[in-house]
């Protein structure tokens, strides 16, 4: 009996509709629309000349592996992209092409998929790494760069069925909470598919890592240029999955050339492109080549062992921190040596913890630890090459080195119960022991852990591997209270999953606040500035009830989106009465504006209504109610000067309520709310934007308010105001009124200003740790404060070398190090083409190949436009400089009559 056809599938029309239009909140987008790849034509000509495109396989010495007879054969490599045409001349082993989009074609109309496939497997002209690999093309993007999670799910299932070995994803998006997608990527690697993905093109801002490259089981690739500098576009910063309680993982995993790389053109020939979308297939191609080189030992090749080999062999770039370069630059030949003698084992990333190692271990190396401080957390990724699943045997052991003051620090662990797929985490929390309260020095020790996996085919015993993690920490005496600043991370909601709009309403093409709002992501420069000014910045990832206010001079609440527990509100009031100072930096919140900035997301096919404004002002007003302070629901924007500093107020709130004897600074600003709602420009005088107040009470602290956080936030930063934060801290932490406030500030009484109400029907409760999801406004029970159980040290009478970095090496099987053949470097028949290509590529704005019509079209358009402009320019010039009698009309009659007689 035939079953009822499924409604999901009998609506091809509905499916087609989805793809129309542009998506705003892209889950899996081809890297942010136009910025997806950076065509070299866009760069300045100087940059172009410097990054002369090079044959990528030569630079990485793939020809040596080719000379040994390895060229990818026997390895199935999949390219998930915009497709590939069947008779492209560059590909000799195209095995399969499938289309998963709603467009009825298998061909690439964009050039992206062709380029990526070329870097991996081209056999002519601009050569790829593995020309003999079985190439499987999955078309998952339309020519309009549209794609959906559901297309990916079906395509991924096919890749699993086809037993793909290596899969390249030059795609990514911010949404790591897209569970169906993230689960599917785990499923792929669990099925031994080695996933290689681009880390994203959202650099140089921190906190911009893209999914799936940010997953532990995926090889996330960042981009460098041919001068070994991290490419500006390459996404960086820690992962934000773990916020606010934990700390992010190190990503990207490795970096490789992604700027000015040559690859296959759409129809034929070669072109030059830049982007992490380019760096990813470089690694995918290298991985394919490596897998074919160890094909005699293919059972031991898996997502973890390949990643371990790449990491262990990568060459570290000097002067670049680990959140930008990961383990360093891909070294193909060394990776081959490591892989060829690889023995299944566990390893760690990073492989050591040296909190004094600058700049590699930024930001850890920028601030020493001390007794009483919030524990420093290092999030170590465990890679387990022994099996898809594994576990930590017993517990990790902390072994302080007795001769090296190991007992001056304490260490606590949290870790994955099961390491699956191929990976897990080990979070190491470090703090100074009580006896180090006045101590200054370096403490060392090591963490030892044993990982086990079930036996593999033909084995009886379970597999185990023991790894050591050296630890080295700088300890200083606890700094005075006035030098310690506490950053409230708990109330900063990280994106995703809700829509928390940008703090600057002018940034329309990037509507989401997704960088984590952490001092080590998009508030990086603020952090660095505070450190340079001598402040110690600690991060509170728990409710305000969980810190000892006597330790800190100032609590910083910047751009918070979360609600506050009633217990937090009363505790903070007590803290202030007892001497804690608070700086609150808010942002805009206006219900009408929020309704105006809703958008339709084509990807999830839902309306996205903001759950807060730039900040959650109603929640802040609840917090500040006992202080008799509040922010307004107005949205202001504009330039002004404060002291001798130029300032820009980018979509901020104003102060609506403040004690009369407080000091206020007012400015003339534009009413941006009005502008957004009614398209009317209107300036408002005496907008109170900054307030300073000494709370009443004998030992009470001080409060400073400012209405806009954009000048501290690296994303879309226009004019910074770090000086202002300095000045505010001068006031709050040191009770010293900076001259700028003395001159410009004055007591100011505020007329009746409306306070913002929470928007009806907002979904903040879905994402909130504070609100009960069922009833709006009802809070959950206050969670218990995090409690770390410090590991009992097992002292070792041992000394570690001062440089921990050199100590990472993978165990190898008893095998002679495979010789990398000392072949004279032949360049098989591509040399002359390369030099030809150079001639093409260094001409600014000229496409790499004349046949590449898609690329050249804008150039023709530009040329045509230029000619038209020149035409008119000459025309105007002519009419101005040499007025001819043909055009008397242009002149005023009076002139004709009086000044110049008409001929």
């Amino acid at each position: 009996m035939p079953l009822r056809p499924l409604p999901e599938f009998i609506k091809p029309k509905a499916k087609a509709d989805r793809a129309l239009g542009k998506r705003t909140k892209n889950k899996v987008t081809v890297k942010k629309g136009a910025a997806f790849w950076h065509s070299t034509g866009r760069h300045t000509s100087r940059r172009l000349l410097r990054t002369v495109p090079r044959q990528i396989t030569n630079v990485l010495q793939a020809d040596l592996l080719w000379a040994m007879g390895f060229s990818g054969s026997g390895i199935k490599v999949a390219v998930f992209d915009t497709g590939l045409s069947e008779n492209h001349p560059h590909f000799r082993n195209l095995k399969d092409r499938t289309n998963w989009t709603n467009e009825k074609t298998l061909n690439d109309g964009l050039g992206h998929g062709t380029f990526v496939a070329g870097v991996i497997a081209s056999s002519k002209e601009c050569q790829g790494f593995a020309p003999d690999a079985d190439l499987h093309i999955f078309r998952v993007f339309t020519n309009n760069q549209v794609s959906y999670t559901s297309w990916f799910l079906d395509a991924f299932n096919y890749a699993i069925l086809k037993k793909i070995n290596v899969l390249n994803l030059s795609i990514g998006g911010p949404d790591f909470m897209d569970h169906p997608f993230v689960d599917k990527v785990w499923e792929l690697t669990a099925n031994k598919v080695i996933m290689v993905s681009a880390i994203g093109n959202d650099g140089p801002l921190y906190g911009t890592l893209n999914n799936p490259a940010d997953q532990m089981d995926v090889i996330g690739v960042g981009g460098i240029d041919f001068e070994d500098k991290i490419a500006r576009f390459s996404s960086r910063g820690m992962t934000t999955w773990e916020l606010p309680g934990g700390y992010g993982r190190v990503k990207p995993d490795i970096v490789t050339y992604g700027s000015g790389v040559r690859g296959s053109g759409l129809k034929s020939g070669c072109r030059t492109l830049s982007g992490t979308s380019v760096a990813s297939p470089v690694v995918a191609g290298a991985v394919t080549l490596l897998a074919s080189a160890v094909i005699h030992r293919i059972p031991m090749v898996n997502p973890a062992s390949m990643k371990q080999a790449l990491m262990a062999s990568a060459r570290r770039l000097p002067g670049v921190n680990m959140f930008e370069q990961g383990h360093g630059k891909l070294d193909l030949l060394k990776a081959y040596q490591v892989l060829n003698s690889y023995k299944p084992q566990a390893s760690l990333s990073p492989s050591y913890i040296d909190l004094t190692d600058c700049p590699y271990m930024w930001p850890y190396c920028t601030q020493p630890i001390y007794y009483g401080g919030m524990p420093t957390i290092v999030n170590v990724t465990i890679l387990n090459g022994m099996g898809v699943t594994g576990r930590i045997v017993d517990k990790p052991i902390w072994q302080p080195y007795t001769p090296q003051n190991g007992d001056y620090i304490e260490v606590a662990f949290s870790y994955s119960n099961v390491l699956w797929p191929w990976s897990g985490y080990l979070a190491v929390s470090i703090t100074a022991a009580k006896k180090a309260a006045q101590w200054d020095g370096i403490a060392q020790g090591q963490v030892t852990l044993t990982v086990s996996s079930p036996p593999e085919e033909g084995e009886k015993e379970e597999r185990t591997s023991t790894v050591k993690l050296p630890v080295r920490v700088k300890v200083v005496p606890t700094p005075p209270r006035s030098k310690r600043v506490l950053w409230d991370q708990y109330h900063n909601l990280r994106y995703p999953p809700g829509y928390f709009p940008r703090d600057n309403l002018r940034m329309k093409n990037d509507p989401l606040d997704w960088n984590g709002d952490h001092p080590h992501t998009n508030f990086k420069d603020t952090y660095q500035h505070l450190r340079n000014a001598g402040y110690y910045v600690e991060i509170l990832g728990a409710p305000l009830t969980c810190f000892d206010a006597n330790q800190y001079g100032t609590l910083l609440i910047v751009d918070s989106e979360e609600e506050f527990f009633p217990e937090e509100i009363s505790k903070l009031k007590r803290d202030i009465d007892n001497g804690l100072s608070v700086i609150v930096i808010a942002d805009w919140y206006n219900v009408s504006v929020m309704k105006k900035v809703k958008f339709y997301d084509e990807n999830t096919r839902q309306w996205w209504m903001p759950d807060t404004g730039g900040a959650n002002v109603p929640a802040l007003n609840d917090l500040m109610y006992p202080w008799n302070m509040a922010f307004s629901d107005q949205v202001y924007e504009g330039d002004f000067t404060l002291g001798d500093h130029d300032m820009y107020y980018a979509s901020g709130s104003s102060i609506a309520k403040f004690p009369e004897d407080g000091i206020m600074i007012t400015q003339t600003l534009k009413d941006q709310g009005n502008e957004v709602l009614k398209q009317e420009s209107q300036t408002v005088d005496t907008v109170p934007i900054l307030g300073l107040y000494q709370m009443t009470g004998e030992e009470a602290g001080r409060v400073a308010l400012y209405g806009d956080s954009n000048c501290l936030d690296n994303s879309h930063l226009q004019k910074d105001c770090f000086w202002l934060l300095d000045a505010l801290l001068q006031y709050t932490s040191h009770n010293h009124m900076p001259p700028v406030f003395e001159q410009q500030g004055s007591p100011f009484s505020i007329m009746n200003v409306e306070l913002p109400e929470r928007m009806e029907g907002n979904h903040l409760a879905r994402y909130s740790k504070v609100l009960e999801s069922s009833l709006a406004g009802q809070t959950r029970p206050l969670p218990a404060c995090p409690h770390l159980s410090w590991a009992k040290g097992e002292p070792l009478n041992k000394s570690a070398p001062t440089n921990l970095y050199k100590h990472q090496k993978l165990l190898s099987i008893d095998l002679m190090e495979p010789p990398v053949p000392n072949v004279v470097r032949r360049q098989p028949g591509i040399q002359h083409i390369v030099s030809d290509g150079v001639g093409w590529d260094i001409q600014p704005g000229v496409p790499s190949h004349p046949h590449n019509s898609i690329q050249s079209m804008p150039v023709f358009a530009l040329a045509g436009l230029t000619l038209v402009v020149v035409f008119f320019a000459v025309h105007i010039h002519k009419s101005r400089s040499k007025p001819k009698r043909r055009k008397p009309r242009l002149k005023r009659p009076t002139f004709i009559n009086i000044v110049k007689p008409v001929v």
């Binding site: 499924l6 799910l153 069925l161 169906p180 031994k192 085919e457 084995e459 079209m857 038209v868």
Partner: protein, 204 residues
Amino acid sequence: MISRRIFRRRWFLALVLGASLLYFLVSVFKQSEQSVVKDTGDYKPPEFDFRRKISWKPRFQARNLANKTDTNCRNSVQGKEIIADERGFVCDREDILVGGCCDVTSLTTRRFTCASCQDSGCCQVYEHCVSCCLQPEKQPLLRSLLDHVPDAFRTLFASVTDHFELCLAKCRTSSQSVQHENSYRDPKAKYCYGADPPQLRPAR
């Protein structure tokens, strides 16, 4: 001087403008012809007689199930804690024998189990879905499924060769499993061997 004057002539500029416009239009036209018209020509969605292609005969007979030594099984590979083998057994990872089969003598091993599955044909655990789907009495259901293969599954099912591969593929989460693209229709029962998608639950 002569050349400069020529540049200023109106007819010359008009000529340049006309020529460039012509070139522009021609190249745009040529491009759209190339990438659109030609592309659609060579794409054919796969056509298969799905029912005939798939082998339903189990590779194993009942009597040699307990035979520990000379049996090789394909299994579900990916599991965190448990694994389903092609004979329909589900066992702990520790109980997988050399050759990939489940140890049928282990107390925790179950055959054709639908432990976490609902009547709708959707299960909470992937391995249970595979095991349940391998029940011989599920064959009519699967055969009827193959008479109406949705477009999204045509390519996938065209490459499936037997009952086990069909169950492995069918039980995976797919385009049928999601709502709003980024959440599951039913996070508690997302692996389905049956024809119906998981029951729709309101997002969060």
